[in-house]
Structure formats: C-alpha cells, structure tokens
Symmetry: C2
Subunit: 244 residues, 2 copies
DNA sequence: ATAGTAAGTGTATAAATGACACGAACAAAA
DNA sequence: TTTTGTTCGTGTCATTTATACACTTACTAT
C-alpha cells in the first residue's frame, strides 16, 4: 500500500442540485469518549484524504471521490489551496486529530476540488455512512476550515458557471429549459425572466432539443434538451455570458 | 532556522507592464559540470521556494517574493496548485535536482501565486542576480513546468482583470487613461476605441482625475488619474465588466 | 368535466455598444 | 520663431443587446 504525504491532502466539495436548491455532500464526524462512550461532539466534513506518495493531485481527488462516494467520471475541478496553519487548530479539530491521527503533523495543506453531479445518480446507501446533502445556505456545523472551503468553492462555481456551460453536469442527461433556468437561478442567486432566458439559450447551438417530451407531469409537458459537448467545442469562440 | 516541508513549494509569477507589453520576471538557472566547469544547460525559472514548517502558504509566497526580488506590499494572489508527479521529471530538471537538492523528494507540489508590480519600482540590481523581465509572448526556455504555470497565471490574470479593477497595480500611482487602456489591451489581447474606453471609465467613480498633467512629453500632456481603493470599496456593487 | 399547473411564445422600450474625425497642446527640430 | 510630429480630448448616430410584460395550450388529478 502506498504511503501518504503527511502534510498534503485534498478536499472535495461535491455539489448537487435537486431542482430547487444547490446542495453539498457532507459526511458526519462524531468523536466519542473512549471510556464513557459518550459523544463529545458531532459535526460534518467534506470528503477528503491525504495525497499518496507518487500520486498526482488530480488522481488523489478522483480517488477520494470514488472511495467516499462511489462517483466516477464526473466533473471535477481544482479551485484553491488552503494553507493556513490555523486551519486545523479548532478545539474540536485538535481533539479529533489527536485521537484519529496522532502521528501526523497538524499543519496540513489541503487542495480544494469541486465536483458537479446529478444528485439522483448518487448511491442512496451513502446515507448509511451518514453522508448527506445539505443546502449550501443551510449548512450544519462544519469541521476544520470546511465552511471557508465551501464558500470559496461556491464563488468559483459561480464565476465558472457564468463563463462556461457547466450547469448540465448537475442535471440528468435530458433536461428541460425550466430545470436549467432554475439551476442558474439557484446558483447565481438571481431571478430570470422565462422568455428572455429562452431567447438566450436559443442562440446556444450546443443545446439540442429532442423529439421528446416530459412524461408523467401534471401540466403541459416540456420539451427535453441535451447538451452537446461536441457542438460546444466546435463553436466555443462564441461569447458565453451569464454575468452575475 | 525553520525547516522546510520537503514536498511543498510556492512559485510566484511576477507580472510587470512597461507600457507596451506584459512581462514576467524570471531568474536564470545554470548547471555547470562540477569537474570541467562547463555549462551543461541554461534556462530560466520562476521565483520559488519550499514552504517552511509552520508557515502559512500566503506567508511563504510573501517571503519568496521579498527574498528573491526585494518586493513587499504588492498585489499577490494564489491561483492554482501544480501537483503532477511529472512536473520535475524533465531531463534538465532531474540533473538540477540531483545536484542541488539530492536529499529531497522529486515529487514536489507547488502552489502558484501571481503578483502585479509597477515594473519601474523593481530594484535594478536584480540584473546582477540574472533576474530579468521577459515579454509573456517571448519566453525563454523554462525549467520544470513553469511554462504551464505562467500560462495558467495569465489565464487567471485575464479573468480577474476583466472582473475587477486590479490593473492599477501594474501602473505607477498616478497614471493616464491611455496607459490604462494600453494595459488592458496588452493583457486581454484586444484593441479598444479610445473614446469608448473613456466613456466606460468615466462611469467608474473610483478613478479620480487629478488637477495635474503629464510633464516632459512631446505632445499634448494628458491628465493624470489615481485609483481610489476607498471609493471602489464603497461602490463595489456596481457591475464591473471588461469581458474578453 | 373541471381545476390546477407549468409550457410555450412576441413585441415594444430602454440601455449598451461600436464606429468614426478633428482641433488643441506640447517638445523637438528646422 | 516657425514648423513638424505626436498624443490628448471630445460627441453623435446606428446597431445590437437587454428588459419588461400576459395569454393560450397540454397535461394530471380530483
């Protein structure tokens, strides 16, 4: 088994969208007193792990994602590296590190990645490991500097989303324009006019309408669209702008 | 003396503007054969160094900048972390590492920072240490993955510059609108119309014209402006957009 | 059959962008 | 002292882009 680099880790901010709000995947962290077995504290953390010796950062991020969520081949992008020496000095964090990783340095630099998933694709059995979705604006108490990491991830996501068409990564392969609009509204924190939104996406040739409609909805069914990465790559030069 | 973290470093991409092109500060790296004293190879590298134990990343970047260029209190921003295990595996790099740092791991993850300076403020005696400015589009042969680092830095600089007023950091305190326009043109790689450019900056209240003109120029002297960080912070909400 | 819900669509107004040319002010050279 | 070369500073009109706004249609559930 490969050994780990003691002061370098990756943390993944996994974003999911449930057609209403943007959510982050978090895992419960619970410290129990070894003698009394009483819970000392409970909070949540991102999916993270140390980088292995001889492992690329991107590989490490993929590995963490695979090991902790079962997700593979999903959108994953590095956004910032957190290197404050105080980032693991919280009271809870010190207790935790002392118990779980007494052999490690307590100054660990962590490279932040964010990933985008269709949240319906995620394995439901994650809940057994107490890994749950939380709305980004209703986060539970978080360990380490993970609140800061999530905020920075969100900031990067917003900038990226307003410059490049990556919103599709949060939706199923086939989606409706209303779903797409709600996604932009949820992430960018704006309200958009439906007609104007449609006018805008009508110019994006890589958004392809299918000969297919929504089924099983109690209203006029919407046409479904797919995103063509292929067409996008060929017409990339065209200006993309959903400025905040 | 503090010890270093063996597999973590910072590299600084120092940008300067000479009123014509955007430049990067690079330091010569020369490997000599220890016996014959003949030069084995010559190339250039960014300003970089390992992070010290117990040192914040941002502190490390400030320290590197201070030690290697004498610069302090200048714009400095982290932009990306380079963690490919191949990044120091070039032939030259291996020779260099073997000679200079035989005790270190050859998988060093490096956190990239870029900084912006008024290039006239930089100490001229840097040239004795063979640290020189190179235009970003005429770079010499570079060590490690520093070409990639500079390209990524530029990409980030462009995005940042088109979203926030940071161009002033590359100019003297008092500058003219033409200098500012040339700066945007050089970095974003565009040509702008002078009148339209002025129309745009006229709306930016934090660009304050002084009762003062250029002197010693062989043409109609231009009015000089300063950037007021103060006014900017108060009027930040206003949309800033120099989209590429 | 009816009620409820989201889909789909066009126009008119306002705002932003882009193209464009000439007189004024200075230093240097004649 | 005059001329030359150079950059500064300025306004308008045409085009493009953004914004505001309301009714009919298609489906499910009751």
């Amino acid at each position: 088994m490969a050994s780990i680099i003691p002061n370098l880790s990756v943390d993944c901010v996994v974003f999911g969208f449930d057609y209403k709000t943007l959510n982050v995947l978090l895992t419960k962290r619970e410290l129990k007193d070894p003698e009394t077995d009483k819970v000392v504290f409970t909070d949540y953390t991102l999916q993270g792990h140390h980088v292995l010796v001889g492992e690329n950062l991107d590989e490490a991020a993929c590995r963490v994602l695979r090991d902790k969520t079962g997700l593979e081949d999903i959108y994953l992008e590095q956004f910032y590296t957190f290197g404050s020496k105080e980032r693991m000095q919280g009271e809870k964090d010190q207790l935790w590190v002392k118990k779980m990783f007494p052999m490690f340095s307590s100054h660990v630099v962590s490279v932040g990645y964010f990933s985008l998933v269709d949240s319906l694709k995620i394995k439901p059995d994650l809940q057994h490991q107490e890994t749950l979705w939380f709305p980004v604006d209703e986060l539970p108490p978080l360990g380490f500097d993970h609140k800061e990491i999530i905020e920075k991830a969100l900031e990067h996501l917003r900038i990226k989303l307003s410059r490049e068409p990556i919103g599709f990564e949060l939706l199923p392969e086939k989606f409706t324009l209303t779903q797409l609009q709600k996604l932009y509204e949820a992430i960018l924190g704006t309200k958009m006019d439906r007609r104007n939104f449609r006018k805008k996406v009508a110019q994006m040739k890589y958004l392809i309408p299918l000969d297919e409609k929504q089924t099983g909805v109690a209203h006029k069914p919407a046409q479904v669209y797919i995103f063509s990465k292929d067409v996008y790559m060929r017409t990339k030069k065209e200006k993309f702008d959903f400025s905040i």
